[in-house]
C-alpha cells in the first residue's frame, strides 16, 4: 500500500481527510459548530500570542518540558537496546492529557464559550479537563461510563474536587464509547454556549489534527533532548494507543525520519483471538463512528462492538484517523499487548524503576520488553511513559486478587 511520498506530515486535506480516513461525519446541527472550531483554530494558529500563551502554560502550569530519562535498570534487565522513557507522567494531573486540554481551553476562551463538556475513559482526560476549567473559571461537565467510574474511582473524586459535574453513562458497555455518544448528544442540545473538549486524536475534523498538534510537543521536545543525550535521533519510538493522542504526539515530528521505527501498541485485552480486545487496527475494519472514518471494531452488519481492556483509557473500539492512514501507508507498525502482559510490565516497572506507570503505557512497556532483548546495545528505544499509575492501583489489586481493605 505504501506510496512514494516526500512527507507524511502534510495531512489532512482541507476537508479533514487522511486518505480514506478522517472527515466530518456529524449531524447537521453540529456541522456549523465544528466549522466554527476549525476557523477559530486556524485563526489562533496565525496569532503568535496564542502560541506564546500556550507555551507559557505548558511550562509553568503543566511543568513542561517533561524529562527524558534513561531507564538503566530495565535496560539491564532486558539486556539489549538502550531504553529511555519520555516522562509525560510527571506532567501536572499525571498524564499527557493536559497538553491537549491547555491548547483547547485557550481556544474555547477565545471563542467565548462558557461551558465545557468532555468524555473520559480512564478519567485522566476528565481530570485534565476539570483542571483547566477550574483554572480558567469555566463550567465543566464530564461524561464517563458507569463501568469506568467504578474502576477509576480516584479520578472521579479528583474531578469532583476540581468542581466538575461527572455524569455516569450506563448505556451499552458503559465505557468510553458510550461516554462519547452522550457528550455528542449534549453538544447538539447546547450548541450556543458549549465547547466540546475531545480528549484524543479522534472525532470529526479538526479535532484529530488539533489534538495531534497540541500533543506534538512530546515528540518535538524529544528531538532536542535525544540530541543532547546521545547526539543523534532515536531508533525506535513506542507508545500505547487508545484513541492515539499520546502516540501521534510522539510520532508526528519523526514521521519523515525514515530511519526511526515507530510502533503503536493497542490493547489486546484477553487476546485478539478471544474477540475481547480493543485493538482496532489489528482486529477491526474501516468504518464510520464519532465523526470520522477509521478502523473500528464492528460486526459484519456494521454495528459497533464493545471493546475490552483492563485499561479504561484504551477501552475504545476505534482509533484516530491519522493512525489508520499511517497503518495503510506502512509508516507505523501497530502491534498489541494483552491485559496480562500489561499487568506484568506494570509490576516490573514499579519494582525496577521505582515508577508506577499507568496501565495504558504498561502496554507499550510490555512490547518494549519483547523487542529490546533482540536489539544491540547501541539501539535507542524511547517509550512514552504517558501516565502514572496511581489511578490504577485498585484495578491492579483486583487483578492480582488482593483485597485493598484487608491484608496487603
Amino acid at each position: 500500500m505504501a506510496d512514494a511520498r516526500n512527507t507524511y506530515r502534510d495531512g489532512p486535506d482541507e476537508a479533514g481527510h487522511f486518505g480514506l480516513f478522517g472527515g466530518r461525519y456529524v449531524a447537521e446541527t453540529l456541522m456549523p459548530l465544528i466549522l466554527e472550531v476549525e476557523r477559530a483554530y486556524e485563526a489562533a494558529c496565525g496569532d503568535p500570542s496564542y502560541a506564546k500563551e500556550l507555551a507559557s502554560f505548558n511550562a509553568a502550569y503543566a511543568g513542561r518540558p517533561s524529562p527524558l530519562y534513561f531507564a538503566e535498570p530495565l535496560t539491564e534487565h532486558f539486556g539489549g537496546a538502550k531504553i529511555y522513557f519520555k516522562r509525560d507522567e510527571l506532567n501536572h494531573t499525571g498524564s499527557h492529557k493536559i497538553n491537549n486540554c491547555l491548547g483547547q481551553i485557550l481556544l474555547a476562551k477565545r471563542m467565548g464559550k462558557t461551558r465545557i463538556i468532555a468524555e473520559t475513559g480512564a478519567g485522566q482526560h476528565g481530570v485534565a479537563t476539570a483542571t483547566v476549567c477550574a483554572r480558567f473559571g469555566l463550567d465543566c461537565v464530564v461524561y464517563m461510563g458507569a463501568k469506568d467510574i467504578e474502576r477509576q474511582k480516584p479520578n472521579v473524586f479528583r474531578m469532583k474536587l476540581l468542581g466538575a459535574d461527572v455524569r455516569a453513562v450506563d448505556k451499552g458497555s458503559a465505557t468510553l464509547k458510550e461516554a462519547m455518544n452522550e457528550a455528542l448528544r449534549d453538544w447538539v442540545a447546547n450548541v450556543d454556549d458549549t465547547y466540546y473538549l475531545i480528549g484524543t486524536a479522534a472525532g470529526p475534523h479538526p479535532y484529530p489534527t488539533m489534538v495531534r498538534d497540541f500533543q506534538s510537543v512530546i515528540g518535538e521536545e524529544l528531538r532536542g533532548q535525544m540530541d543532547t543525550a546521545e547526539g543523534r535521533l532515536p531508533d525506535t519510538l513506542v507508545a500505547c494507543i487508545g484513541g492515539g493522542s499520546n502516540a501521534i504526539g510522539l510520532f508526528h515530528p519523526f514521521l519523515d525520519d525514515a530511519d526511526v521505527r515507530l510502533i503503536g501498541v493497542e490493547a489486546a485485552g484477553k487476546g485478539i483471538e478471544s474477540g475481547e480486545h480493543a485493538a482496532s487496527i489489528s482486529g477491526g475494519d474501516p468504518g464510520v463512528l464519532h465523526g470520522n472514518r477509521t478502523f473500528l471494531l464492528q460486526e459484519n452488519g456494521g454495528q459497533i462492538k464493545d471493546a475490552h481492556s483492563i485499561s479504561a483509557g484504551l477501552d475504545y473500539p476505534g482509533i484516530g484517523p491519522e493512525h489508520s492512514w499511517l497503518h495503510m501507508q506502512g509508516r507505523v507498525d501497530y502491534v498489541s499487548a494483552t491485559d496480562q502482559e500489561a499487568l506484568d510490565a506494570f509490576q516490573l516497572c514499579s519494582r525496577l524503576e521505582g515508577i508506577i506507570p499507568a496501565l495504558e503505557p504498561s502496554h507499550a512497556l510490555s512490547y518494549v520488553g519483547k523487542i529490546a532483548p533482540e536489539l544491540p546495545a547501541d539501539h535507542l528505544i524511547v517509550m512514552n511513559l504517558c501516565g502514572r499509575g496511581d489511578k490504577d492501583v485498585f484495578t491492579v489489586a483486583d487483578a492480582l486478587g488482593i483485597e485493598m481493605g484487608g491484608e496487603l
Binding site: 449531524a27 448505556k171 452488519g301 454495528q303
Partner: protein
C-alpha cells in the same frame, strides 16, 4: 452534480397534496421494534391510519443524534438481530400490499458503508424504498452514497438545523432531493418541544431559497402540535411520540400487550386528522 431525481412516488405525493392544500404526515418507527410481528402490523396499518410517508429507522448501535426513546427502540430491534436486509425485506413485503405510500429509511452511515453504498442503493431500490436520511452524513461527506442513490432514482434527504445559518443553507439545499427536513429543535430526538414561531420563521426563510417541499421534525409530539406545523410546512414528522407508545405497551421481554397496534395506529389517526384539517378554517380545533 449529475441529474437529480425528478419524478418519483415522493414527488407525485407532494404534487397531489399541494393540490389538496395539505401537509404530509410522516410517521417514524424503528424497523422490527419491538418484534418483527408487531412491527409488520404497524407498517401495514400506517397508510390506512393516515400516514402519507413512512419513515423506518435502521437501527444502529450508537445513535448519536437520538434521545432515549429512539435509542431504546434501536436496542430492542438490535437485540433480536435486525439487519439492513431485514429492513429491506419488510419494505419488499409491504410493497406487495401497497404501492403508493413513499417509504424512507433513516439511519447512520456505518451499517450502509459496511453493506457497500452501491450494493445498498441497488437493494433499497429493488425493495421499493423511495429515499434515505443518513443522520451523520452532512453534504460534505454524502457524495459517496448519494451518487449511488441517484443512479437508482432514490432521494437523499438532507437535514437543515437551527444552526444551519444563511451562509451554509445553500450548501444543504444544493444537495437536497425529495424534501428538506428541518430539525425543529437544537437537540437530539424526543427531548425538547419545538418553538413554533421560530420554526415558522425559518421555514419562511427557506422557502425563499428552494422550491423543494419543506418538512419539519424533532419535537413534535401531539396532534395539536402536528396541526400547527402543518399550517406552514409541507410535511410533519412524528417519531419519538409514536415510539414511546410502543415502549409503554410492552413487557420486559418486549411482548406487546393486547391492543397495542390499535393504540399506536389510533394515535397516527389523531395526528393525521390534525394534519388534514390544519389549513381549513376551524383547523385550530383539530
Amino acid at each position: 452534480m449529475s441529474a437529480s431525481v425528478t419524478e418519483s412516488r415522493l414527488t407525485r405525493l407532494f404534487e397531489k397534496l399541494k393540490e389538496q392544500d395539505r401537509a404530509a404526515l410522516v410517521t417514524f418507527i424503528t424497523a422490527n421494534d419491538p418484534n418483527p410481528e408487531l412491527f409488520r402490523q404497524l407498517l401495514e396499518g400506517m397508510p390506512t391510519a393516515g400516514a402519507d410517508i413512512i419513515e423506518l429507522g435502521m437501527p444502529f448501535s450508537d445513535p448519536m443524534a437520538d434521545g432515549p426513546s429512539i435509542q431504546l427502540s434501536s436496542q430492542r430491534a438490535l437485540k433480536a438481530g435486525v439487519t439492513i436486509d431485514d429492513v429491506l425485506g419488510a419494505v419488499k413485503r409491504m410493497r406487495e400490499l401497497e404501492m403508493d405510500t413513499p417509504i424512507i429509511l433513516m439511519g447512520y452511515y456505518n451499517p450502509i458503508y459496511r453493506y457497500g453504498p452501491a450494493e445498498f442503493a441497488q437493494a433499497a431500490a429493488n425493495a421499493g424504498v423511495d429515499g434515505v436520511i443518513i443522520v451523520d452524513l452532512p453534504p460534505e461527506e454524502a457524495e459517496e452514497l448519494n451518487q449511488n442513490l441517484r443512479e437508482h432514482n432514490l432521494h437523499m434527504i438532507f437535514l437543515a438545523a437551527p444552526t444551519t445559518d444563511i451562509t451554509r443553507l445553500p450548501r444543504v439545499l444544493d444537495h437536497a432531493s425529495g424534501f428538506v427536513y428541518y430539525v425543529a429543535v437544537k437537540g437530539v430526538t424526543g427531548t425538547k418541544s419545538a418553538d413554533m414561531t421560530e420554526v415558522g420563521a425559518r421555514i419562511a426563510e427557506m422557502r425563499e431559497q428552494t422550491d423543494l417541499p419543506l418538512g419539519v421534525g424533532f419535537g413534535i409530539r401531539t396532534a395539536a402540535q402536528a396541526a400547527e406545523v402543518a399550517r406552514f410546512a409541507d410535511a410533519v414528522v412524528v417519531g419519538s411520540a409514536i415510539v414511546d407508545i410502543i415502549a409503554d405497551g410492552i413487557d420486559d421481554d418486549y411482548r406487546p400487550e393486547a391492543g397495542l397496534s390499535a393504540r399506536v395506529l389510533g394515535f397516527v389517526k389523531d395526528l393525521s386528522d390534525g394534519v388534514r384539517t390544519a389549513r381549513s378554517v376551524d383547523g385550530a380545533e383539530a
